[in-house]
């Protein structure tokens, strides 16, 4: 408990530090916000154009498809907002030897790397996700219950950790190969499949995103439960189990990787 309290406190301190850092360069900060708002506007426009062309998809109504799409942005956005710095491990922290710094400090290295940066761009995904859910909510006719709300609250952090776990495992490959940014990118891009109902894909794609790179559990399965109330044991239960498995693999690969870390000459 004391441990968790300390981690939360450290997290808050790093976030505050990061906000101060962003505001240090006012011009960049303001232009960043303007660019971000413009980007979100075009994104919305694009999604509206695409979905207005497909009124019905493998038995799913337009509203249901948009709802799943919107829900998929929530875990993705949370991971992106909070733990984006993992990308830096595979791109330059290991290759340039800058990872040394984390190893000389009395904090868990994975935690330290994860929370050091805050990716404000991700707020766009979160806002968009919430907006799409709100817009489609009246027309998808969801039956609400206390248990359902509780399960949704449980599912979201676990779905987020599926992203984080996959990023952790693939970033940690850099401890051996010095660079793994592209490996992370390759895995990460599979998540585009998970934004749509998996029933529209053939069996191969469906099995890959369910069991191998399990992004389907970040969006489709939990959203399916919300829409239909069916099979909570699989749709939510498996999300939790898969998330724990993926994160465990991530941590194991990370810890092994640290032992193989070679730093860089100085």
């Amino acid at each position: 408990m004391k441990q968790i309290k300390r981690l939360l406190r450290m997290h808050r301190i790093f976030v505050v530090q990061e906000l101060k850092r962003m505001m240090e360069y006012k011009g960049d900060f303001i232009v960043g916000i303007i660019g971000f708002l413009l980007g979100q506007f075009f994104n919305m426009l694009f999604i509206w154009i695409i979905f207005s062309q497909i009124p019905n998809l493998a038995g799913w109504t337009l509203e249901q498809v948009v709802f799943i799409y919107g829900f998929s942005l929530i875990p993705k956005g949370l991971d992106h907002l909070l733990f984006d710095n993992l990308w830096a491990v595979g791109h330059w922290l290991v290759r340039k030897g800058d990872f040394d710094r984390y190893l000389t400090r009395p904090i868990n290295t994975l935690f330290h790397v994860m929370v050091e940066k805050l990716q404000i761009d991700a707020l766009g995904e979160l806002i968009m996700g919430i907006a799409l859910i709100c817009i489609t909510l009246p027309s998808v006719a969801i039956e609400w219950s206390f248990v359902k709300i509780l399960l949704i609250i449980i599912a979201i952090p676990f779905a987020t950790l599926i992203y984080t776990g996959i990023k952790t495992a693939t970033a940690a490959i850099a401890f051996w190969t010095k660079r793994s940014g592209n490996i992370t990118y390759m895995f990460y891009m599979v998540n585009d499949f998970a934004k749509y109902p998996v029933t529209i894909y053939n069996n191969t794609v469906r099995n890959i995103i369910t069991y191998i790179i399990p992004f389907a559990f970040t969006a489709y399965y939990p959203a399916l439960y919300i829409l239909t109330g069916e099979n909570p044991f699989f749709n939510i239960g498996m999300t939790v189990i898969i998330s724990i498995i993926v994160m465990t693999i991530g941590v194991i690969v990370w810890n092994k990787g640290i032992k193989a870390y070679e730093s860089a000459g100085s």
């Binding site: 530090q17 000389t104 009395p106």
Partner: protein, 333 residues
């Protein structure tokens, strides 16, 4: 306090033929080779000691320091501080050490310096009252006040180094590792930093391990040196010991009006010196002769020289530590 025994570190390296074809070949079928950066290093450091850890470039100094600071995992061997091993419990181990890598910084680049100390306070869990006392002390020793509100990116190298040393001392570590803390600094700043290190060592009995290529750092700060080369120990002892073991070099300085001194004197032919045992430098009328006094005694050298040429002013000097180390590095012992 610090205990290092038979420490060894190997790296795997991919060998590539030159050019793009070499890169493609290596990409398809990489050839691995094992490089031994640290072969076999052993030494101990007592509490409160300042140890000078030296060796030529590529000798393995940084690799040893990185193993001692928990950054690298040794291939084999033991390294402990107060009986604690960095690979067993890294988090508790690093609480007791401070590290400065002169060529890197651990400060938050974009923010005022003060913010870095604020975060380090939380990372090392320093209580408020201790933190204020500590900052006052570090400010007094390293004179941080004039730039503590400036963003780190605007600091000069000298200021940045002082700030980095302060950052490594904030949590009152028992051992301080300094890897080239005076690199690229002017004489005045070097002097201030040496004084600060000495003061902290005296005041708090902080054990210091210092690597540097500036031998005056070592001469002024440390009583004992450990020298390594090609991943193995070369010398372990005090500076006087080093001088008596390898310091048989003497320097003869004199002024003369004789032209072409080296061919007139012809030391090598007369005394039978080897190539490394004697050298002559001339600059106008002043001449500097370095020779190995274990082969030819100073008195013989003097009387021979005085008998050969016309000399106005003459003096004999002990070789300085720099000269000894230059010879050791060159010969590779």
């Amino acid at each position: 306090m610090i205990y290092v025994e038979n420490l060894k570190k190997e790296f795997k390296k991919t060998v590539k033929a030159p050019g793009i074809m070499g890169s493609i070949k290596s990409f398809i079928k990489p050839q691995k080779e094992i490089v031994t950066a640290v072969k076999d290093i052993s030494f101990n450091v007592e509490k409160g000691e300042i140890l000078g850890f030296i060796g030529p470039n590529g000798a393995g100094k940084s690799t040893v320091i990185k193993m001692l600071t928990g950054i690298l995992t040794p291939t084999s061997g033991i390294c402990t501080i107060n009986g604690k091993c960095p690979t067993d419990d890294r988090k508790n181990y690093v609480k007791e050490i401070g590290v400065v890598f002169g060529q890197r910084t651990q400060l938050w680049w974009d923010l005022p310096l003060r913010e870095t100390y604020g975060v380090l306070k939380e990372i090392y869990e320093v209580p408020d009252d201790r933190y204020h006392k500590r900052m006052a002390f570090l400010n007094e020793v390293l004179d941080l006040d004039s730039f503590i509100t400036s963003p780190v990116r605007t600091l000069s190298l000298g200021q940045r180094m002082r700030a980095d040393i302060a950052a490594s001392l904030l949590h009152s570590p028992k051992v301080l590792f300094l890897d080239e803390p005076t690199i690229g600094l002017d004489v005045v700043v070097k002097d201030n930093i040496r004084k600060a290190i000495e003061y902290i060592n005296k005041q708090e009995k902080t054990t210091v391990v210092l690597t540097t290529h500036d031998l005056s750092d070592i001469e002024l700060l440390s009583k004992r040196i450990v020298m390594i080369d090609k991943g193995s120990n070369v010398f372990d002892g005090t500076i006087p010991e080093l001088k008596s073991k390898y310091g048989q070099i003497r320097e003869l300085h004199f002024e003369t009006d004789t032209a072409d001194v080296s061919s007139v004197l012809a030391y090598s032919e007369h005394f039978g010196f080897c190539k490394d045992d004697v050298s002559i430098e001339t600059e106008g009328s002043s001449v500097k002769v370095r020779f190995n006094s274990s082969i030819v005694p100073v008195s013989d050298m003097l009387s021979y020289t005085l008998g050969k040429i016309n000399i106005t002013d003459i003096s004999v000097k002990d070789a300085d530590i720099e000269e000894i180390i230059r010879r050791l590095y060159k010969q590779g012992v």
